[in-house]
Symmetry: C2
Subunit: 406 residues, 2 copies
């Protein structure tokens, strides 16, 4: 993925993060623990109509995994409607017992609290690094309230630009402090940060100038536990996802796990730079069953099926290494209603849909200690089958709930 | 209190309720259980500046006792602010430990659920009788959600006018049913009602015509448990409060209680019709320490101090029996800020205030069974000292929280 060779050479954003990581590594890492609040996303795969159905992984998110709190609230909405209306007897499956509980908020907060506890300074606060004018704030505040009310941990929300002046790493101890003048009891000027939770920094748009990368470096260079560290963020890249599918790579990391079961949840993937022209040639041949994905977050950049050959015609050979080809998951046909707020009866549109399941979990890990990890909840996003991208906040899809049936 | 003699002769509203009660009694009572969700209101009394302080009862509410749910949420707000800001160290008393929990919502719902259970028909619903265009709905919905989520009991909200056509008492069984065509699963047309919870019907404004009294009669004549029955509503009248203070009346009801402790929480009271002209004469003499209260709910009808002699000059002798005189409670001097929503910094006004404590409880009682009763929570309303009336929703006072200090 490096900045001089690999993905980072082609993708400016990955390259910048890689450079920060190298600098941190060269200067010496001061906090060896990593916290990840992860979300692993899956689609149902059914290549033959009416044939067997399996779960296939779309991607694995290692930074800013979102919609956990909103998903829990949508689950509560659907459970409330089951309890209060029995869904007007419209389906024997729509019963309270078939609608599983979703306690993602408590679970994700447990993860942040585990890091806070490992840091071992009870009066420290947790820092949420957020985007300016964040629209997803209602997904984030629940975690803040849960931390306060269930764990007595305070949270401060700041943007990279605010942190450029408010954050400092104390020389020597490398403690991260954030200045909050006039806002603290007993005349204190700043608070110690136990854990940095990034809900920003996952997209190049969060780094319009080098100043934001500099602030990221400052945060990373402290003894605060990062969720995630810059290297854990990089490990969530699509290139890493692809490399893990190659040959025997997985067995280097998955000791003691059922690797075949894990591999069976993956679609075929390869880099476009694989074996000279082979990667591109194969992508042309199988274009109708493929999606090409660049090393970039946020949706809207993928190239699908019929668009692939034309795209490959214009892709400079030097940029191939930034792209992976992935076999398309083929979800079974399902009909459902998509409901849009504030549109009355016309807001409910019946359509063919695809539902994407996200499974949340956290892991706190580092050298010479057992991994603290927990699966904590889930997200279901349902979108019209014609929409190729998965982001909820951009309006393509709706939040949904699981119905479990035997 | 009767309709022909007593309060009901002078006060049309009390008279109508009394007539319904007499009719029910004559026809035979079909449900002997009463449910009360009560609120007993108190002020601090400190007649000598700097002297001892005691709690004195203002009134005892037996119908539509409100602001329980909102008060719980205000307590949560104040506890949240203590947790998140420590109130900027502004007072050593403002700590989380001094801000008691307030679980009124669960407690009031427990009361309604106790009646539902005593009725013993699990699939029955609870009926909330509400005012049209109710502005206090956000105080009521919490109880509905709590009943649904914690007790799996459904609630239907209807006004007297809706119930005029939707409610029916099944001949023979006297079961109360409410029609909800098209809104029920499995093609059902109506639901059985276990408990009627009146959040309307406490003021003459809820009975603009005789039709609403007729509907009240229909509900009362069923086997559903009423919260409250019409007779329990009448027992909450100010005249009853006054009569209980006279001579040895209390000992007829308070076996086994510490009656002196109870009496010590009462101010002196008498009827204006007491002993010929004595009641009025005494009210003139002590006017500066008195409030005159009519038998009417809702605030705005009381006559205070200097206004009393002029008022007595115009009060027809025949209407004296509808009024009681009560010694004014004299709260100690206290300063506080009243905060008005949406007014920014100017919304906080420092002023002399009086705080009124309401204590919520429920009781389910009837012949030949032990009383099921529970104290469940509290309400604190704080108002500017110049405002004589106590209603929150009319804008005179603000919701507040208790701070307990040794």
């Amino acid at each position: 993925m490096g900045a001089e060779i690999g993905v980072g050479r082609v993708d400016e954003f990955t390259g910048q993060l890689w450079k920060i990581w190298k600098r941190l590594r060269d200067e010496g890492i001061h906090q060896r623990l990593h916290l990840g609040l992860f979300r692993s996303d899956y689609l149902l795969h059914s290549p033959e109509k009416g044939g067997p159905v399996s779960l296939k992984q779309v991607e694995f998110n290692t930074i800013s995994s979102s919609f956990g709190a909103l998903s829990e609230n949508v689950s509560k909405l659907h459970r409330y409607l089951a309890l209060s209306t029995e869904y007007f007897n419209s389906s024997p499956f729509l019963t309270l017992k078939n609608l599983p509980r979703n306690d993602t908020i408590a679970g994700l907060a447990d993860g942040l609290a585990a890091a806070h506890e490992a840091y071992d300074s009870p009066s420290a606060w947790i820092l949420f690094v957020v985007q300016a004018g964040e629209r997803n704030v209602f997904d984030q505040r629940w975690l803040e309230y849960e931390l306060l009310e269930q764990h007595s941990i305070r949270v401060v929300r700041q943007t990279f630009d605010e942190l450029a002046t408010s954050a400092e790493v104390v020389p020597g101890s490398r403690i991260l402090r954030v200045k909050l003048p006039g806002l603290l009891p007993r005349g204190a000027e700043s608070v110690e940060i136990s854990t940095v939770y990034f809900r920003a920094g996952y997209t190049p748009r969060d780094y319009p100038t080098l100043a934001q990368y500099r602030t990221r470096y400052v945060l990373e260079s402290s003894v605060a536990i990062k969720c995630p560290t810059i290297q854990l963020q990089l490990a969530g890249g699509k290139k890493v996802q692809e490399v893990l599918t190659q040959g025997d790579t997985l067995s280097r990391f998955g000791q003691g796990l059922d690797l075949d079961a894990l591999r069976s949840s993956w679609m075929g993937m390869w880099g476009l730079d694989k074996d000279g022209d082979y990667g591109v040639r194969r992508a042309r041949e199988q274009a109708d069953k493929l999606v090409l994905k660049p090393q970039r977050e946020g949706g809207g950049n993928n190239v699908y099926k019929g668009d692939i050959p034309g795209f490959l015609d214009t892709l400079p050979a030097g940029e191939r290494e930034a792209w992976i080809a992935m076999e398309l998951i083929e979800p079974p046909d399902t009909g459902n209603y998509l409901v849009r707020a504030g549109s009355g009866t016309e807001g409910a549109v019946k359509t063919e849909v695809v539902s994407e399941l996200g499974v949340f979990g956290y892991a706190l890990f580092g050298p010479r200690r057992p991994i603290e990890e927990q699966e904590v909840g889930w997200l279901l996003r349902t979108k019209g089958k014609d929409s190729n991208e998965g982001g909820v906040a951009v309006g393509f899809s709706v939040l949904d709930s699981l119905v479990l049936v035997d």
